[in-house]
């Protein structure tokens, strides 16, 4: 877990500034450039950052480089499902109140429904579709089948991603730690105790290999 300042992944170049200005076809950029001192000098007349209503973002999903044109009001969830046609991640409450849309962003579990797509730029996103290697399932996926962790299955992508994040961080969690690690995911069919068993089994398998 990161403890200190998050390193900014990419520095903003002049080119990016200008890209922001241009925006997409539908964009109307509010870009007021006040020429003054060089940027970063901290003085009041530094150029203002561009503001845009559309942006092309570049990021990786499940190891693949992708590009998408997004509006600021779009969420990562919408981009995944509607633009990239990765329907595995589900929209379940759209308010960060149920965990069904959980994905990994730079290794951390997040609600994609509350993650502005524009922030995905430069990030590594992993969804449930990205866990298996060909036909070989991730140990968490395998355990979820063997222990009957799901019923209707709709909350499963979220739980699977949260479980992967948990086990990546804590490879040998106690029952209490499993419960806490999954405390941001709701299962309405009510299969929690089965999910714990599956996560425990997966952690055992992952530690052996």
């Amino acid at each position: 877990m990161e403890k200190t300042s998050r390193k900014k992944k990419k520095t903003v170049t002049r080119r990016a500034f200008l890209q922001g200005l241009g925006g997409g076809a539908a964009g109307a950029a509010l870009a007021t450039r006040i020429r003054g001192q060089a940027a970063g000098s901290g003085q009041a007349e530094a150029p203002l950052p561009a503001a845009y209503t559309r942006k092309t973002i570049n990021f990786t999903v499940n190891g693949k480089q992708v590009s998408a044109e997004v509006e600021p009001r779009e969420t990562l969830l919408e981009v995944l499902r509607d633009q990239l046609k990765l329907a595995g991640t589900k929209r379940t409450c759209d308010r960060g109140e149920c965990g069904g849309c959980t994905v990994l962003v730079d290794g951390q579990a997040m609600y994609s429904c509350l993650f502005p797509a524009v922030r995905a730029n430069g990030r590594q996103v992993v969804t449930v579709e990205g866990l298996a290697e060909g036909e070989a399932l991730h140990p968490v996926q395998q355990a979820f089948i063997e222990k009957d962790a799901y019923q209707c299955g709709y909350c499963m992508p979220g739980f699977i991603m949260a479980s992967v994040a948990l086990l990546n961080q804590n490879p040998n969690p106690s029952l209490g730690q499993i419960k806490a690690g999954l405390s941001g995911n709701l299962c309405r069919c009510g299969n929690y105790v089965k999910i714990y068993e599956a996560v425990a089994a997966a952690s055992q398998k992952m530690r052996k290999s």
């Binding site: 300042s5 503001a51 009001r73």
Partner: protein, 326 residues
């Protein structure tokens, strides 16, 4: 929801400049877990969202001789897991860990948590134009108010939902604020303001100010802290009542006690009279009941929330108990 413009300032100065440019319809987004839900519900309809996460250097947790400094963009998860904070400011670690869910803690920030808007279900419904949104009534006053305030109400009965705020106040934290006029800092306890002062806001942040960091001064030797959060469900829920306490154990009693409540008032609620009554005394159940009575007498429960008085007693008792435990 309406579309909005998005901008990624690289410095606080740039962010401040954008804030003033768009005449009151620009908002600052840190983690976004609170703001984005407000936007989705139509409670807030900004023209411009200023992305604070694009500013480097605001997310650090550092210790120097002036104390611990936590940047406004530090995630709640990073605060909860920080070894230093766990050791020296255990109550803060508890407060951060008790908040929301793992996924929300991964994105949510200190600044966002301290500046969040209330969770009153009337406030969060765009169709209910209450006083806080410029209307002329408080729907909670004679409505469904089991989660609402027992102190400090009057024209508006929200409770301040933050877990970090009461704990940081109990730790004597200062909040550092940047504006075009420079830097200022004030005790976090003075950052929050009752509805009577300005029902439209929960804090004294001006329209052209940004929270930069929080500073916790070095504590006296032997200081301990604890946070107890009482909820309905064991996760996700905001506090029904929470108690943030700080004190120094000495010969069975507690010195330098600070007790700040969450979930009971529009601002984090300090129990000054209780603190005074406990000073230096050995804490017993009977003493605590007596000590709390003066503060609790000021409570003005609504139709459905008198139970919070019992929860205050329980939360404070347990939090103080945690302080004196080995």
């Amino acid at each position: 929801m309406k579309n909005f413009q998005w901008t990624e300032p690289q410095t606080i100065e740039q962010a401040l400049a954008m804030l003033t440019k768009v005449n009151g319809k620009a908002v600052l987004m840190a983690g976004g877990t609170d703001l984005f839900t407000e936007i989705k519900e139509g409670v807030v309809e900004p023209d411009l969202v200023i992305d604070l996460r694009s500013i480097p250097g605001l997310a650090s947790i550092q210790k120097d001789d002036k104390g611990v400094r936590i940047g406004a963009l530090a995630t709640v998860a990073s605060i909860a897991s920080d070894a230093l904070i766990k050791q020296d400011l255990s109550g803060l670690s508890e407060a951060a860990g008790s908040l929301a869910t793992p996924q929300l803690r991964n994105i949510g920030t200190l600044g966002g948590n301290l500046c969040q808007r209330p969770r009153c279900w009337y406030y969060r419904d765009a169709q209910m134009v209450c006083r806080k949104k410029g209307g002329s009534q408080c729907f909670a006053a004679k409505g469904r108010n089991k989660y609402h305030a027992i102190f400090g109400g009057g024209i508006c009965h929200i409770v301040y939902p933050s877990d970090l705020a009461p704990m940081l106040i109990a730790l004597d934290a200062q909040i550092a604020i940047s504006s075009p006029r420079g830097e200022r800092s004030l005790p976090l306890g003075e950052f929050y303001a009752l509805p009577a002062k300005n029902v439209r806001r929960e804090n004294v942040l001006a329209g052209d100010e940004i929270v930069r960091e929080v500073r916790i001064p070095p504590a006296k030797k032997g200081t301990r802290s604890a946070y107890v959060k009482l909820k309905e469900r064991e996760t996700w829920d905001f506090a029904l009542v929470s108690a943030a306490v700080r004190g120094i154990g000495s010969g069975g009693g507690l010195d330098d006690v600070a007790i700040v409540l969450g979930g009971v008032a529009p601002i984090p609620w300090r129990l000054g009279k209780t603190e005074a009554a406990l000073k230096g005394k050995k804490i017993s159940e009977a003493l605590l009941k007596e000590a709390l009575s003066a503060d609790l007498q000021e409570a003005r429960p609504l139709e459905e929330n008198a139970y919070k008085l019992d929860l205050v007693r329980a939360a404070v008792g347990r939090a103080l108990g945690n302080l004196t435990r080995a």
